[in-house]
């Protein structure tokens, strides 16, 4: 657990490699200023009462790892905000059609802590919704622990207005033969910072990190992910896709880190952006750190406007330009949804 007496680190700025792009000082200062106010919000779930706890387990609930936001991680951990701890035993919890729901209502400023544990043999479909009131801010510390032979499908949907912002610092740990996939999407918020660390802790573990977004106007979506391979013989994939309109900006920093002895790891990382406006901006920085042998790791990133040949093909069949562009934008993100839903 965190030492509450430890001094807070400095606010992130451009010298922090993980905050290099965008407007780090402005965003960090604004968010830190909001944390001075009294937190308001509500964290609810339809999980059975016997699975719900409101206190943390010192053994099980380690803080998420920071990918540059140590300041916010520490401050949020020190806040006297809500804690929701869900422990799901072996069995089926939720379905694709009727997922288990976790709902986070955000008024003004809110810094909840969410810890979900899937015990061995558990299979869970979870829909985590973050619903922002006007002009609200969220710093959410999320931990999902997927024990051996458990399976998690987690969809995170965050919606708010153009005066709201959100920071999700998340950790997904996968044990031996555990499978986890997360799909995140952000809609309407002025600024989003997402930090997700996926830890592969056992052989046969599989992790799929997905994100699909449609920023517009002056929205900023800043996403960082770390695929951390601790154990040999695990597999991870990350695919982050954005369709950018207006003067929106997407920032992506992704890293695959294969620890010593995590031999035969298999990992891929991809960030793809469809640019529908000349004013839109993308900063993309995928990286690899390999410290083991016999691994298969690679990454890719691409940002481009709509393929003019595809657009012409649709128009040559009578589909008007506006509709054709909308169809191609939907099609671009469709791959993400299909990957999330595939058996």
């Amino acid at each position: 657990m965190m030492n509450k007496d430890a001094p807070l680190p400095e606010l992130p700025d451009r010298l922090n490699e993980n905050w290099r792009y965008g407007r780090p000082h402005q965003f960090a200062t604004e968010l830190a200023g909001r944390m001075d106010g009294r937190g308001k919000g509500k964290l609810t779930t339809n999980a059975p009462q016997e699975c719900i706890l409101h206190t943390l387990s010192p053994d099980a609930d380690a803080l998420p790892l920071s990918i540059g936001s140590d300041y916010f991680l520490r401050r949020a951990a020190q806040e006297q905000s809500d804690v929701l701890r869900i422990v799901l035993p072996k069995g089926e919890w939720g379905t694709e059609e009727a997922p288990l729901r976790i709902r986070c209502h955000v008024d003004s400023f809110y810094a909840p802590r969410l810890c979900v544990e899937l015990q061995p043999g558990c299979r869970a479909h979870i829909l985590e919704e973050h619903l922002h009131g006007s002009n609200s801010a969220l710093v959410c510390l999320r931990s999902y622990t997927v024990h051996p032979n458990a399976e998690l499908r987690l969809e995170l949907r965050e919606t708010g207005d153009n005066a709201s912002c959100a920071m999700n610092i998340s950790r997904i740990q996968c044990g031996e033969n555990a499978h986890a996939r997360q799909l995140s999407s952000y809609s309407g918020l002025a600024w989003v910072r997402e930090e997700t660390t996926g830890e592969l802790c056992g052989a046969g573990a599989e992790l799929l990190l997905l994100s699909a977004n449609r920023p517009e106007k002056g929205q900023w979506i800043d996403q960082r992910c770390l695929q951390l391979h601790h154990a040999a013989g695990a597999r991870s994939r990350a695919l982050y896709k954005n369709v950018l309109r207006g003067a929106s900006t997407c920032i992506f920093g992704g890293n695959i880190r294969v620890e010593p002895n995590a031999h035969e790891s298999d990992a891929y990382l991809s960030n793809l952006n469809l640019m529908l406006s000349p004013e839109a901006t993308v900063h993309s920085l995928p990286q690899l750190e390999i410290m083991a042998d016999r691994v298969r790791c690679s990454h890719g990133t691409a940002s481009a406007p709509i393929d003019p040949e595809q657009l012409f093909y649709l128009r040559s069949r009578g589909i008007g330009e506006t509709d054709a562009r909308a169809i191609l934008a939907d099609a671009f993100l469709n791959e993400v949804y299909l990957l999330f839903r595939q058996p």
Binding site: P308, E309, Q310, F312, Y313, L314, R315, S316, R317, G318, I319, G320, E321, D323, A324, I327, L328, D330, A331, F332, L333, N334, E335
Partner: protein, 249 residues
Amino acid sequence: MSLIIKNLQARVKEGPEILCGVNLEIPRGEVHAIMGPNGSGKSTLSKVLCGHPDYEVTAGSAELDGQDLLSMSPDERSRAGLFLAFQYPVEVPGVSNANFLRAALKARMPEGEEPDAVSFYKRLRATMKQLGMDPKMTARAVNEGFSGGEKKRNDILQMLMLEPTCAILDETDSGLDVDALRIVSEGVNSLRAPFRSFLVITHYKRLLDYIVPDVVHIFHHGKIVRTAGPEMADYIEQHGFDFLKEDDA
């Protein structure tokens, strides 16, 4: 008269002239074939007629059933009744064949109306069966991962579903095996009607054995230089295009 092209001249934007004064009239109910050496401008003609943005028209006119094609956007030309079966059909990942065709049919309907789902799928499956296509292809993304022959067949499926009044087939036979060529040709022939015209661009007579043309044109240096009956295709098959060298001389 269905398609009337007069003195059509066009070029790749800011590039050299490729079409150098094309004159062509295809009455309703007729099939015209265009043959010609590589690089003579046959595919350019098809793309210019359909409004491909890489080309600009520098002179001339093109009308379909009295409508000025050149003043229309590519989608307007399609809705006006023009169809192009592409030489290289484009892959569109993420858009299923069924959704693509529904969008194309919806674009032809009044604002707010949509094709009836039950009758649409019934017709789609029947048409796919006619072309020997696997019904599972309705759910596959448009042309993604298709073989060359499957792509051509898929373009003909679109043509049969959209029922244009004038269809241009740009080397539809390339990539098709013998059986596929016969099936695709039968599909095209099933659409032949007194109110519909076809322009078939090909290098080989084998396609014209199935889709028998009324007229064969020879395209050379960006324009039509010979016009004859279907026997011209036999002549080309036997003698090639050497006779055009005399024109050049």
